[in-house]
């Protein structure tokens, strides 16, 4: 198969990987070292590989790398770091929303996409937003708590403005 070179901006860095026609965005991201993007099923069932592509949460296993050419990708590790975590990451840690942690990067990405368009979601809206992200450890309750906590902290920080 013929490789082509694509351009991706990932967490603010520009990459120009050569990709196969059948390679998924998930495979390319992991090859480039963005291993916080997890591979759980490779067919869009679990959401562990979710990333933001041009602002929308997508399962990167369902996007061909070529389709993302020229796109801007943000993974969970692009949202914050251990020393400077994103409020969602901090809230997940505080609320007990992290157990084994394997679903967490994708879960936080889905939550980020939600809060970007709806800064004060209801419990039902949160559950809807993360319905495509499977978690086998928590029963989801502390994850919902974490998203609510992050939303509160973020709106407090911006003085209640959305």
């Amino acid at each position: 198969m013929k490789e082509t070179t694509i351009t991706l901006t990932i967490n603010g860095r520009t990459h120009e990987p050569a990709v196969q026609p059948n390679e998924t965005l998930l495979q390319v991201l992991r090859k480039l070292g963005y291993t916080d993007v997890k591979s759980g099923c490779e067919k869009g069932d679990c959401g562990a590989c979710a990333v933001l592509l041009d602002g929308d949460a997508v399962n990167s296993c369902l996007v061909l790398a070529r389709q993302a050419d020229g796109g801007e990708v943000v993974t969970n590790s692009g949202l914050g770091t251990l020393d400077d975590p994103h409020p969602l990451q901090e809230a997940f840690a505080d609320a007990g929303a992290v157990q084994c942690g394997f679903c967490t990067p994708g879960m936080i990405v889905s939550a980020k996409a939600l809060l970007d368009r709806n800064p004060n979601p209801t419990e039902e809206e949160i559950r809807e937003a993360i319905a495509g992200n499977l978690c086998r450890c928590t029963g989801y309750a502390q994850i919902v708590d974490a998203v609510q906590l992050a939303a509160q902290r973020m709106s407090a920080k911006t003085g209640g403005e959305s």
């Binding site: 916080d36 069932d45 914050g80 007990g96 499977l134 086998r136 450890c137 928590t138 029963g139 989801y140």
Partner: protein
């Protein structure tokens, strides 16, 4: 988070400053920021990629296996079959029937040679320059099968003329209890209630598929970085590969979920063989489909209860028959069926008891550990049976249970005295109260409520003579290091050790760094299974931390010229407590001295050559094996007693069951970290609810029908209400500071509670899990639909 603390018992460590607080787990932020590396995230220079060639038949003879075409493919480094294994036939560490000689043929081959016994059984291994080449090589392996009769139903497999999965027969394990006089008990009964309950194969469905990377180092040690609940498999791996134990080094990573499914060896031996053969690093990562085909399942059980009761609800006799479907190889079936046997009559006093349990081989996926480990399957049956008894007697379900609850000091089914608190009645009442007002019914929607009260052991079977080690040291700036070989499943195993060390050494938890899950570089702490790590490694860490504290206080006592008992440590400082009598040698009262920073004290100790690092060993009680023909004696360190209550809505037109409310109430002895305990209760019950309502690994004549998350459904965020977690703390557990275990007990009561609620809604019982819409409608029709 809702929680009610009933009482906080006295402890040696007081006041508690860290333990009992909902602190952020030490592993939480690394995971939340995507910093934590999992087994599949590692790469090495010159690394090869591996794939496993698996059987496409559930039962067949291998007539011919030809790997020459695969070997010839450019980029293939090696192809291994059973012939390439040192010593030919190899085995992983499958137990035989405990208490007897190891059962002949009870071991599973690493690679099948002459026969395959389940779909997906490994036959050959490929290592290649790229994953794509390894995948291509699989298609070039030629295998010729000859049909071999299979058996798929455990009841069929027990018949004398059934095909034998492996010699000598299909009975993998059998256990019996004979207690009291069952015939007399039944003669005394007013009513006899008999029911059969079944439950299916279940997949652990952890989000992280099995993965590992292995390499040889400059001492010829095979290093394996892998997600495993048991780093101490290094011994079995070494035996399988034909090297001394000290030439295998398992480096456990954070585990992306296990629940028992990463208790048995998964990729380790494959990786060890491939790296030893190629002398290059090798990586093997399962796909989701391969994970579902390749790892163990929860045992399906068929359980029949025949119970004699008086009109006041008192049980006079019980006869219980259990048949577990062990699948193609025994793995932990003997122990799973033992757990089921011992808790077969639940947390109830049954003086006249007859139990017969068999685990039976079939040509299905093999079965082994899954959170609850037979105790959960037993509960699904005994708790539905208690509700059926209540129905026959027209009694309240809690009243029937109340008439039979075990109490502290009573003997359980096998004569082991329960030493710790049994708060079942209070737990049930609190859980039921928390359901609040009943949701009204509308149209075809029926609303029902159910609960279950259960017991689940924590800590391993005592005849295994379980031990754990933990090392605690303090650095010269007052920071603390814990080294303990505990594999971390994600339930906070490592973090809880930090919380305990922080408590004892008077530092914030952030000052503690933990090294864990390494078979060579951290002290061996045993398996992360059987709800044993807080009990075992928590106690070892408490002990080691105490030894460090004693040294610190000895030196500080000299510095302050007081007794060590007059000192305490908190907020990184050692200080003289308020109650201390401070007098000089000439009996004049002194001013209370300034606190001493912990780092300064550690430096003083180091200068004096005092020992600031301690390794502690904790041993569980050791007992002898019990007689499998009539189990009697002490088997487990202790039990956690639990209740779960739910409210469901059942649509009698569509058969759909919706969970409306869910409450778990557990006496955890002491909650080391309440947030983590709530997480266990909510997450464990979610698995129990999935088991009750939607999960089933469907196998048709040995063929897997549910090989992905598209077919194998687990609960999503929209399938579950928030489970309210109610924590009680009796302080009577054998874990650190009176803690009991919660990992497995959190799951055990949930599934029967849901089954009882559906039966309450419908007025008729669906006795087979999962309670699918089809089964609901069938039951509703059977009842004559109203």
């Amino acid at each position: 988070m809702t929680q009610h603390v009933k009482s906080l018992p006295e402890t040696d460590v007081k006041p508690l400053r860290q333990v009992g607080r909902p602190l952020r787990r030490v592993d939480a932020l690394g995971k939340a920021t995507g910093t934590t590396a999992y087994a599949a995230d590692f790469e090495m220079p010159q690394m090869l990629h591996a794939k496993v060639f698996r059987s496409r038949k559930p039962s067949a003879r291998i007539v011919d296996l030809d790997v020459s075409r695969a070997e010839a493919l450019e980029g293939v480094a090696c192809v291994l079959t059973a012939e390439d294994l040192p010593g030919g036939q190899l085995a992983t560490d499958m137990p035989g029937q405990t208490g007897r000689e190891e059962r002949k043929g009870s071991k599973a081959p690493v690679l099948a040679s002459d026969r395959v016994r389940y779909l997906g059984e490994p036959i050959a291994l490929v290592a290649a320059e790229t994953l794509e080449i390894a995948e291509e090589a699989l298609d070039l392996i030629d295998v010729e099968y000859e049909p071999f009769p299979g058996v798929f139903d455990p009841l069929e497999a027990m018949k004398p003329d059934a095909p034998v999965v492996y010699e000598p027969d299909n009975i993998v394990a059998s256990w019996r209890i004979r207690k009291g006089d069952v015939e007399a008990g039944f003669a005394e009964a007013d009513k006899i209630v008999e029911n059969t309950f079944t439950m299916p194969f279940i997949d652990h469905a952890y989000l992280e598929p099995e993965a590992g990377v292995a390499w040889m180092d400059d001492q010829n040690v095979i290093n394996i970085r892998v997600c495993t609940q048991v780093v101490e498999h290094f011994r079995s791996i070494a035996a399988a590969v034909g090297v001394p134990h000290n030439k295998v080094h398992v480096r456990g990573t954070m585990i992306g979920g296990g629940f028992g499914g990463k208790e048995d060896i998964t990729v380790e031996i494959f990786l060890a063989l491939l790296t030893k053969t190629t002398r290059r690093p090798v990586k093997l990562v399962y796909t989701r489909e391969e994970s579902i085909l390749g790892h163990s399942k929860r045992h399906p059980f068929i359980i029949t209860h025949r119970t004699g009761v008086k009109n006041d609800g008192k049980i006079t006799a019980a006869e219980i028959e259990m048949v577990a479907n062990a699948g193609a190889y025994p793995y932990l079936s003997p122990y799973v069926s033992l757990y089921a046997t011992v808790t077969s009559c639940g947390p109830y006093k049954v003086d006249n008891l007859k139990v017969d349990t068999k685990a039976v081989a079939t040509n299905n996926p093999f079965t082994s550990a899954f959170r609850g480990f037979g105790g959960a399957q037993a509960a699904v049956a005994y708790e539905q049976q208690m509700d059926e008894i209540a129905k026959v007697l027209s009694m309240d379900p809690l009243d029937v249970r109340r008439a039979n609850f075990l109490e502290t000091g009573d003997e359980n089914a096998i004569g082991q005295t329960i030493e710790s608190a049994v708060w079942l009645e209070e737990e049930a009442n609190r859980a039921l109260d928390a359901l609040g007002e009943r949701t009204p019914e509308t149209g075809s929607i029926k609303v029902g409520r159910g609960f279950a009260t259960t017991m689940q052991s924590y800590g391993r079977i005592m005849w295994f003579h379980d031990t754990s080690r933990s090392w605690v040291g303090i650095e010269q700036d007052g920071s603390v290091v814990v080294r303990c070989g505990v594999p971390d499943l994600g339930a906070g195993q490592a973090s809880s050790l930090c919380q305990i060390a922080a408590e004892v050494l008077g530092v914030p938890m952030d000052d503690v760094t933990v090294y864990y899950s390494d078979s060579a570089l951290t002290p061996l702490a045993g398996t992360t299974t059987a709800t044993r790590q807080l009990y075992m490694s928590g106690n070892a860490t408490l002990k080691a931390s105490g030894m460090v504290r004693d040294v610190l206080l000895e030196r500080a006592a000299a510095y302050f010229d007081v007794d060590p008992g007059d000192l305490d440590i908190a907020d990184r400082e050692v200080f003289v407590t308020g109650s201390a009598q401070l007098r000089d040698s000439d009996s004049r009262t002194r001013l209370r001295p300034d606190p001493l920073p912990l780092g300064d004290l550690a430096k003083m100790c180091a200068a004096d050559g005092m020992k600031l690092q301690h390794l502690a060993l904790f041993t569980a009680p050791f007992t002898d094996q019990l007689d499998p023909e009539n189990l009697r004696g002490d088997l487990f360190p202790d039990f956690t007693f639990s209740a779960h209550a739910v409210e469901v809505a059942v649509d009698t037109e569509t058969g759909e069951v919706t969970l409306l409310k869910s409450v778990g109430c557990h006496d955890v002895g002491r909650a080391i970290n309440p947030t983590a305990v709530v997480g266990q209760i909510q997450g464990g019950s979610a698995q129990g609810i999935g088991w009750a309502l939607m999960e089933e690994v469907q196998v048709n004549e040995g063929y897997m029908m549910t090989p992905s998350y598209s077919e194998y459904l687990i609960p999503t965020a929209k399938d579950l209400p928030k489970t309210e977690a109610i924590i009680l703390e009796s302080g009577t557990g054998v874990g650190p500071l009176g803690a009991k275990g919660i990992g497995e007990p959190s799951l055990t009561p949930a599934a029967p509670a849901v089954a009882n609620a559906v039966a309450d809604a419908l007025g008729v019982r669906v006795a087979d899990l999962p309670i699918t819409p089809e089964r609901v409608l069938e039951a509703w029709e059977r009842k004559g639909g109203e």
